[in-house]
Amino acid sequence: MKLKVKNLVLIVRWLMRNYKLVSTFVIILIATMSVLLNNCANPATEDIVKNLEYDKLNMITENPNLEPKLKTKILKAMKDGSDDTGDLLYKYRKELVINNATLDNDSKSWWLIIIMQFKDYSTKEIADGLYLWEHYGDIIVSDELLEKAQSRRDK
């Protein structure tokens, strides 16, 4: 017990002697933590969902060919603003948007923009994606699309 108290006194003395070093360390620790917390708390998806009213969400899931289970899953993800919403929408972009007969072409373009915003794409990437959608019918470049583009150029 005596040894413990002695050690504690020694620690306090050392801290008092090196108060500059200790205070600097504490400040650096707080600053680092605040940066980390700020980056970890990423309400980007939540922000996007808040901007989309529920009836607009229905617009994308009005597709009669969409499985009810999948429809519920996507609607729930979008309403909750969960982090995998972008990945989920992106994964099913063909069923939800590209092959969705209930959407006109303008709406499809804007939905694809929103999906890419969910995926945190930059403006340039979104513009490239839309160019691909307009010319090749999808927002990503696949080997097949590249081959098609190549053969068109060669002709």
């Binding site: 205070s23 600097t24 400040i27 650096i28 940066v35 617009m59």
Partner: protein, 85 residues
Amino acid sequence: MEKSEIAIRKTQLLEIVQSEKTLLGDESVAFFTKYIEKTKTIKSFTLATSSVNIAIKRAKKKAGNEDALNIVMNILEKALRNLIK
């Protein structure tokens, strides 16, 4: 009726995009202007408005993060100066 409503919506949305030019940046403004000009249906204007709002909110958040980072960097600089003294 629909045509005039589309024209009104288009003008309003273009004005919003232009007014947030500093926040969004030239590249985003050019992109949104191009696609808003192309948009022809009321249904899609609802989505376009959402998309522009999303872009504005995200740009504001990014600007806020940069401010927070600058404050933290200033604190760190002061702490290190204090240590060197």
